[in-house]
């Protein structure tokens, strides 16, 4: 055997082994072998994808066991505890989550990322019962003189790409340039850099930018939006289990405790602001 065919044979053998490994991996992954009877990416673990940071729903926190904190994270931690599963949180891109690609690709069992339940998303995802009712809101610099959505003519409005806030802005803002950014991190920077004049996005996230008084929320929009936990379309067992856990959290009062942790103070501040305006 000359040296070149030796190389080729080795490479080929390597490939075959890799393929064989893939094949056997597959059969393990889809097996219903774990105790809970759920079809999970990794047995015994609830793997959750989330687009972090998006405070107060998800943020980084080295001191917490999962490495993350936030309302969504606490909810899925409680669900994982209830199902006697370990929680693993993966930071992902919102595009991949809301299109269902991350779930279909087997990256995670559940997407918890302040995701509004929409008919369009339901075509490719299974949603839990809603766990949070959200409002859209308009954040502007405190000294800007912008008082409502009608004052945005000729201005630049920042939105997050692929979100319901972007859809709302496209439908309801006239005469303004709507600029989409990948996440709240860039959005808030762009507002501070003066690249946009206002941000239109979920109320709780805008609220976190009002605490130092430089920015203020001038309007809220009730769009009948509810956040849901997203799962792979055919994973009905998991959807049922998650819904049971959500119901149990509400019954036990644990849900209210979690809610107050993140939203009670802000809710008061929010009420004060809307009476001012």
């Amino acid at each position: 055997m000359n040296i070149r065919s030796l190389y080729a044979a080795t490479a080929a053998a390597g490939l075959v082994l890799t393929l064989a490994a893939c094949g056997s991996d597959d059969s393990n992954g889809s097996g219903d072998g774990d105790a809970s009877g759920l079809d999970l990416v990794t047995d015994g673990t609830l793997t959750v994808c989330s687009d972090v940071p998006y405070a107060p729903f998800e943020d980084f926190d080295e001191s917490s066991p999962s490495g993350f904190t936030g309302f969504d994270i606490d909810i899925v931690q409680a669900i994982a505890d209830g199902l006697e599963l370990d929680l693993v949180v993966k930071d992902s891109s919102f595009d991949g989550l809301q299109s269902g690609l991350a779930l279909n690709a087997g990256d995670c069992d559940l997407a918890a990322s302040a995701m509004t339940i929409t008919e369009e998303r339901k075509a490719n995802l299974a949603f839990s019962e809603g766990y949070y009712d959200s409002l859209q809101s308009l954040l502007v610099p405190a000294d800007s003189g912008i008082a409502s959505i009608a004052d945005l003519e000729g201005k630049r409005v920042g939105v997050q790409q692929g979100t319901t806030g972007e859809a709302y802005a496209n439908e309801n803002v006239s005469g303004a340039e709507i600029v989409s950014f990948p996440s709240d991190a860039e959005l808030y920077q762009a507002l501070q850099a003066g690249q946009v004049d206002a941000l239109l996005q979920d109320l709780p996230v805008n609220l976190t930018h009002t605490t130092d008084g430089r920015y203020t929320i001038v309007e809220e929009y009730d769009t009948d939006e509810t956040y849901g936990l997203a799962m792979k379309k055919d994973n009905t067992a998991l959807v049922e289990a998650v819904n049971e856990q959500l119901a149990a959290l509400r019954d036990s009062g644990e849900y209210d405790e979690l809610y107050d942790t993140y939203f009670s103070e802000e809710a008061a501040q929010d009420a004060a602001e809307s009476s001012d305006g």
Partner: protein, 264 residues
């Protein structure tokens, strides 16, 4: 077994193994899921117009702008790099090392979001203007090094001959060395163009209005709205469109390189 028989047998075995690998991929893949997620027909028919007339148009426009700006910057940088006055050489070297060492994404974010916060100055053209300036700055650093290599590849005898004929230093550079150097650097500069074309996809991070979106940003939009929402069909379409632009360019580079080799 004779030597030649063994060689034939080896060849046959390798073909069989190759066929087995192809067959294994074909059997293991979930074709139904692949076609549903990546090749949805409605997505191709419904999205291609926006993808071509907005996405490809802006991608090419941004590439041309940042390449042109980057090239001008590179010429300045390389002249400084070869200047007889040392501080100019240091400045040029420092710039090149800095911008070759930073990821383009970081430079883009810094120009679009960092500079206005730090200095209260916004590059012209809004976020996209800032993003393009950042791409120029990065491309300029790479192209300056390419140009320098080209200039140094021109035989020293050319300069010496020109100078002995009484030509000045600047004139020698402009009329004798630069034309030859440019011919040498055309293939690597075309490679730079292809890299820059792909780097325009990083502009998504600065914030783009609907009419400013380039190919990647637009395809990400179509993952969540329009006829192929919820699938990656628009990514497939974007990939095909990128290849439609880059493959002719890279083939052109290969052709130019082989031609250059022959002419030596």
């Amino acid at each position: 077994m004779t030597r030649s028989a063994r060689a034939r047998l080896t060849t046959v075995v390798l073909y069989v193994v190759f066929a087995a690998i192809v067959a294994a991929f074909a059997l293991v893949a979930d074709w139904e899921a692949i076609s549903r997620n990546f090749f949805l027909a409605e997505g191709f028919s419904g999205n291609w117009q926006a993808m071509v007339f907005t996405g490809v148009k802006n991608t090419i426009l941004y590439t041309i702008i940042s390449f042109t700006g980057g090239f001008v910057l590179a010429v300045i940088l390389v002249l400084m790099r070869l200047a007889p006055i040392a501080p100019f050489r240091w400045l040029s070297l420092a710039y090149i090392e800095l911008f070759r060492g930073l990821p383009a994404l970081v430079v883009i974010l810094f120009m679009a979001l960092g500079v206005p916060i730090a200095f209260g100055w916004r590059p012209p053209g809004g976020t996209i203007g800032a993003g393009l300036v950042a791409l120029m700055m990065v491309a300029g650093a790479y192209m300056a090094e390419t140009l320098r290599a080209g200039i140094e590849a021109v035989p020293k005898g050319q300069t010496e001959a020109a100078r002995s004929l009484g030509m000045g230093g600047g004139w020698t550079m402009a009329s004798i060395v630069m034309p030859q150097a440019l011919r040498i650097v055309v293939p690597p500069l075309t490679n730079e163009l292809v890299i820059l074309l792909k780097d325009t996809s990083l502009l998504f991070v600065v914030g783009l209005a609907t009419s400013q979106k380039e190919l990647t940003t637009l395809s990400r939009d179509f993952m969540s709205s329009g006829p192929s929402a919820g699938t990656a069909t628009s990514l497939t379409l974007a990939a095909l469109l990128y290849l439609a632009i880059t493959l002719p360019l890279t083939r052109l580079v290969a052709w130019m390189e082989s031609k250059q080799k022959r002419s030596r």
